[in-house]
Symmetry: C2
Subunit: 196 residues, 2 copies
DNA sequence: ACCTGAACACCGTTCAAGT
DNA sequence: ACCTGAACACCGTTCAAGT
């Protein structure tokens, strides 16, 4: 059985260094120019040839996915912790803020998340599925606790989070927060904030 | 004085025909591939050389603006009519639907509208300003009539309209409508739909 | 007055040749 | 095992030359 998943050989030192430099430069370039930024620029800034970038990351999405790996693990861990929170409304409110802030880190990232499990985004499909799963559980708990109107779906909450992240990218964090607060008030039985 | 704005000379017949064909093909290509579609493809499909496209439309935004001209005139006319509506809440609700449907016609259009009067978009700046102006007036009337919570700004409504159009582009008209209904409920003193 | 298409720059992607 | 960089395709944009 184990032979089907051979343990990875220790990578060569220069390969590992190139991999790390590429990730670091990709983060810098994506922060400044969004996830559609030039891959050639990333390779150039990392001091490697373009072929080396493609060797390590066969597609743009593979690069993005590798870049998000650690942050996603941390995000999902926080999500799992929130599921055990005593106040389901407050837990969902916290989760929404976390996800919006994360999805707004690079311009264009929210657009990737929103298509999610959809056709494309192969390398990010699993991350999107986990994101949707945690959201669905938190929405379910909040609804069961009476913190959400019964007709609000987890798809509604996901769409809102991505839309708010997009507003954050395109206008400002402030305007994104206002949209979030208004829409959340519309999802609440009392017409106010979640968890209050 | 009039000599400062010389009356346009009648364009040559082939020039006029090329102009019209370019607009028609641009509409078709933008509908299928969004506003970032290849200009070369548009010229090719219109049967003209790339230089001819640039002669008529010096920038991509000039082409988009020309394409939206008639639709914008119709939209703003409807907006002016809505300002005289007896029910300000219902009028705003109608306006929101009109703008969202319009902003979702081409993928990427909402992203242009949301930056609006912002730095770029020179050729579209005036259209964005008129859009914002009508929205501001309708929001003001609705608020004065008690149909909106007092703290809701016209910037909030504009952000919501663009966000809903984006969700329409990226997911579905249905999901966009759900976001719209939920957020509007959060903007209303009663937590329900506008104009009811 | 308008149109054509070559020219240049830049990027995505692949792959033969090197070490 | 990994890296390099040329090669090809495609597009944005400009402009000299044609009609």
């Amino acid at each position: 059985m184990d032979s089907a998943t051979p343990r990875r050989r220790r990578p060569r030192a220069d390969a590992r260094r190139n991999y790390e430099r590429l990730l670091a430069e990709a983060d810098a370039v994506f922060r400044e120019h969004g996830v559609d930024a030039s891959l050639e620029r990333i390779a150039r800034q990392a001091g490697v040839a373009i072929g080396t970038l493609y060797k390590h990351f066969p597609t743009r999405l593979a690069l993005i996915a590798a870049l998000l790996r650690e942050r996603h693990d941390a995000l999902f861990a926080r999500g799992d912790a929130l599921l055990a929170d005593a106040s389901p409304g407050a837990a969902l409110a916290t989760w929404i803020r976390l996800v919006v802030a994360h999805a707004a880190t690079y311009q264009g990232l929210a657009a990737l998340f929103i298509v999610g499990p959809g056709l494309k985004a192969a390398e990010l499909a699993e991350d999107c599925a986990r994101l949707a799963s945690v959201t669905e559980q938190l929405v379910g708990t909040a609804r069961a606790a009476g913190a959400l109107r019964p007709e609000v779906t987890s798809a509604d909450v996901s769409a809102l989070m991505n839309a708010a992240a997009w507003v954050h990218e395109e206008i400002s964090a402030d305007q994104a927060n206002r949209l979030l607060d208004l829409a959340v008030a519309g999802m609440t039985p009392t017409g106010t904030a979640l968890g209050s």
